[in-house]
């Protein structure tokens, strides 16, 4: 096992502030927020979407609807899997037709998750626009995909690991970069 060195990218307070800033950026760039909806990508995109909605509500009073997207069935690596991963429900309790959607995920890496998410969304209807908000962009894209809202950009190598911890799932807020030696 090669030694791995962990560095903290965001502390608990920084994680919270970063999410708040992202919420404000969404308000700023979207102008009127009443047409938008947030789509959290399972798993950590979901609590992130809820926190963004909270910030948007605090700033504008607008209630932004939240949907949950499971991309398992749209993954491009299922044929490589020894056993198919567990599928979870997609729960989008509103019509996506003509809507201004913001996909929310914790880490943007190869872009393949987002490709899968966009395919999933378009099976549900025809959104007017789809944007992307991520807490961390670690680069190394394999597809022509970029985020509209980025909490923290970090240079990484493919073997590195970016660990996002969120209170709702992990009991604490923290972002770590684990570098392969």
């Amino acid at each position: 096992m090669p030694t791995r060195e962990k560095t903290q990218l965001l502390s608990a307070a920084q994680t919270g502030r970063t999410i708040e800033r992202l919420g404000h950026e969404i308000v700023e760039k979207t102008g009127e927020t009443h047409g938008i909806a947030l789509i959290g990508i399972r798993r950590r995109g979901v609590p992130l979407a809820h926190r963004l909605a909270e910030t948007i509500r605090a700033a504008t009073g607008a209630e932004v609807p939240i949907g949950v997207l499971d991309i398992t069935l749209y993954r491009d690596d299922l044929s490589l899997a020894s056993a198919h991963p567990v599928v979870q429900s997609t729960e989008i309790p509103f019509c996506v037709d003509g809507r201004d959607l913001i996909l929310v995920d914790d880490v943007l890496f190869t872009g393949r998750t987002i490709r899968a998410a966009i395919n999933g969304l378009f099976d549900l209807g025809r959104p007017r626009r789809v944007q992307l908000c991520v807490l961390v962009d670690r680069g190394l894209r394999e597809l022509p995909i970029e985020a509209n809202y980025v909490g923290r950009r970090v240079e990484s190598r493919p073997e590195d690991l970016v660990e996002v911890h969120l209170k709702e799932i992990d009991g604490e807020d923290r972002v770590l970069l684990e570098r392969a030696a």
Partner: protein, 316 residues
């Protein structure tokens, strides 16, 4: 919890946890049936052989629909047109099918145990779509999914099954599943269709030949199809069956007010079921059909994920 089986041959050997997992996975596929675009590419390039050595319309179409929704191709074998009519043995037939390199085989056969026999001899997953008087596991699972949708749970329910229990693989699969959730099961029907040994299939089974008694307090009422040809062996006139066992609104009223009325289909209106019951809001017959597609999608998805080795790469 995960599903580690290579095949789905029956429900008897499944644990409660495994059944709960399969139902949970099926729920994820229920959502896809409500989408405007129901076609996925998840199993693109995979193929399923639907080998029906016994006639079936609904189960075969349900599997074909499930495969199509996931992007898999299906090849059909139907007994009437097949080489089995020319005297080929079952093992030769399925080996021939396997040589066409499908990823999964769905089999229905009049002989109990035929899917097990096939599973032991082939290198691909086998799904039992009904074998003789033994089991119909996907029907049992879709029934359980329908009950839990309607009542919000599966645990400790009073379930009454009415009709030709002896010849019903649907009843057997349901008993295996529901008894694992602590349901109390009452079997009701003419004595000739109610073998006393079925009471020992699970701890909480009661045999009650009087329909009115059997229905009292039931949360779930499952009416089985009467195969008219079986009314002749030994003789029970159809009008006698109707008088004693037909599910009528008055009889259904003896069950709980929110009892779910189920039928695996095809129904014979006016024989085992009064049309007023079949079309009542308590009837879940069409939900059962819709849920059948979701259950079969989940199974095709889970069982075809068997590439030789290698972990799932990290998502990005």
């Amino acid at each position: 919890m995960s599903f580690t089986f290579r095949h789905l041959l029956g429900t008897e050997a499944l644990s409660r946890g495994e059944i709960a997992f399969l139902l949970d996975q099926s729920r994820a596929f229920q959502g896809i049936q409500k989408q405007p675009l129901k076609k996925l590419a998840t199993l693109r390039g995979k193929s399923a052989v639907l080998a029906f050595f016994e006639t079936s319309t609904r189960t075969r179409i349900s599997f074909a629909t499930a495969a199509a929704r996931l992007g898999a191709d299906t090849m059909n074998l139907q007994a009437e047109s097949s080489s089995t009519q020319k005297g080929e043995s079952l093992v030769d037939t399925v080996r021939t099918l396997e040589a066409m390199k499908p990823d999964v085989i769905v089999i229905r056969h009049a002989a109990s145990g035929a899917p097990h026999f096939v599973a032991e001899r082939l290198g691909i997953p086998v799904i039992n779509a009904g074998d003789g008087l033994h089991e119909h596991p996907t029907q049992g699972l879709l029934d359980a999914l329908t009950i839990s949708d309607r009542l919000g749970l599966l645990d400790a329910l009073n379930v009454t099954i009415v009709g030709d229990i002896r010849h019903s693989r649907v009843a057997r699969s349901n008993i295996h599943i529901l008894s694992k959730f602590g349901c109390r099961i009452t079997l009701c029907g003419p004595a000739m269709w109610l073998p006393p040994e079925m009471a020992s299939m699970a701890p909480s089974i009661r045999i009650e030949p009087r329909l009115e008694e059997a229905l009292r307090g039931a949360n779930v009422v499952m009416v089985l199809r009467v195969q008219t040809e079986r009314l002749r062996e030994p003789a029970l006139p159809a009008d006698e069956y109707i008088r004693l066992y037909q599910m009528t609104p008055a009889r259904l009223a003896l069950a709980q007010p929110d009892a779910v009325l189920m039928h695996p289909g095809p129904m014979i209106r006016g024989l085992e079921i009064d049309p007023a019951v079949a079309d009542s809001p308590q009837s879940s017959v069409l939900e059962q059909v819709t849920n059948g597609v979701a259950v079969r999608m989940a199974l095709l998805y889970l069982l075809t994920g068997g590439a030789p080795s290698g972990a799932v790469p990290q998502a990005g």
